[in-house]
Amino acid sequence: MSNNSAANSSLVLAQKAVKQLRLEASVRRIKVSQAAAELKAFCLQNAHKDPLLTGVPSSDNPFRPPKSCVLF
């Protein structure tokens, strides 16, 4: 009995593996050159809004306490 169920579970596992691979194989793929171009475009378009790239002015920096001495 136990032999049977062991064989059955190997069979079930193998069937699941095939089903999963068939699903992954059916993915529609676009060219890497196109994907890379779009990733690049996304970064460049958003660069001006990225504070870690543009820098955070001291007056607007929430993590830096405002200096108490101000020169007019």
Partner: protein
């Protein structure tokens, strides 16, 4: 018996055939590289961020941190048995949540800011209401048979968990029950990240694979290979079309979801330490990766070059996070401190 063995052998052969087919399909679209496409892009130069605040309060190793969606509050978890909710602008501690089990490995803030969740070697994901007069346990999600490595809220009523039992799970917080179980990894799941549109999520595991899942129907849609050791950290690129992974093999990789393959490898021969955590700047151009070498190294995501380093911790950087407004980076370490940089 013999016929079953024959059937299994046939199925195994079909698996091999399908794997070859997948590799061939990937190769067929591999007509360029990310570094090639970014050849003409201006360099970001040396990225030098300053340490703005050191948050002191934990008494033992910090294992995890997560920003609230308001980009001001942040929750951290330490094996001193506490979760601390911080106001990062003032540096004040707002809430302290004592944990039943000190062996915490993950923490998450709900998008609403009302709830936090944590879990670890207790195998349980505990959800707390931090808006109550004192933190109240809302739910104990107990069904994983291995440690809780990562958790992320979809809303106040749903949460995703990743576990050392090799599965991920979507839970209904109203009933406390599992809605969907995601099984396909053959190693401990270490990290997960939700897509910007929340229809899919990605997981990284000790089987060195990253997998893309459909949140609602539980299917594994794509599998990404290439790493040669445990994947500890994973994140979505903000466009939703690519993912970044960080591994014990000392490399980070970017995989494009639509071309179904690795498009760039972030590795340096001088860096011989595993990647523990990672976060992206708001444009996606900068990758902040925490390493076992006590530093957080900064990578140019398009050119694959190392462009800076955040040094200051006295032990492994275990967690890294950039808030939604992109105004800074937070690093958490085994040295018990959290540091804010910009």
């Amino acid at each position: 018996m013999a016929s079953e063995k024959a059937e299994i052998d046939a199925l195994k052969k079909e698996c091999d055939g399908l794997r070859t087919q997948i590799e061939a399909a990937r190769k067929a679209v591999n007509d360029g590289s990310m570094t090639g496409a970014s050849g003409g892009v201006a360099s970001v130069g040396r990225v030098q961020l300053k340490l703005r605040k050191t948050l002191k309060g934990h008494l033992a190793k910090i294992y995890a941190m997560h920003w609230a969606t308001d980009s001001k509050q942040m929750v951290s978890a330490s094996q001193d048995g506490k979760l601390l909710v911080w106001d990062t602008h003032t540096g004040n501690k707002l809430v302290a949540v004592p944990l039943k089990s000190a062996w915490v490995m993950s923490v998450a803030f709900a998008p609403s800011g009302n709830l936090v969740a944590s879990g670890g070697l207790d195998n349980i994901c505990t959800v707390y209401n931090i808006k109550a007069a004192s933190p109240k346990t809302l739910r104990e999600l107990d069904a994983h048979t291995g440690y809780l490595s990562c958790c992320r809220f979809l809303s106040d009523s749903e949460i995703l968990t990743a576990s050392g039992d090799t599965t991920c799970c979507l839970w209904d917080l109203e009933t406390g029950k599992q809605k969907v179980v995601f099984t396909n990894h053959i190693g401990d799941c270490m990290s997960l990240a939700l897509s910007p549109d929340m229809n899919t999520f990605i997981s990284g595991a000790c089987d060195s694979l990253a997998k893309l899942w459909d949140v609602r129907d539980g299917t594994c849609k794509q599998t990404f290979s290439g790493h040669t050791s445990d994947i500890n950290a994973i994140a979505f690129f903000h466009s939703g079309n690519a993912i970044i992974t960080g591994s014990d093999d000392c490399a980070c990789k970017m995989y494009d979801l639509r071309s179904d393959q690795e498009v760039i490898n972030y590795q340096d021969t001088s860096l011989n330490a595993g990647v523990t955590s990672l976060a992206l700047s708001s444009s996606g151009r900068l990758i902040f990766a925490g390493y076992d070498d006590f530093n957080c190294h900064i990578w140019d995501s398009l050119k694959g070059e190392k462009v800076g380093v955040l040094s200051g911790h006295d032990n492994r950087v275990s967690c890294t996070g950039v808030p939604e407004d992109g105004l800074g980076v937070c690093t958490g370490s085994w040295d018990s401190f959290l540091k804010l940089w910009n």
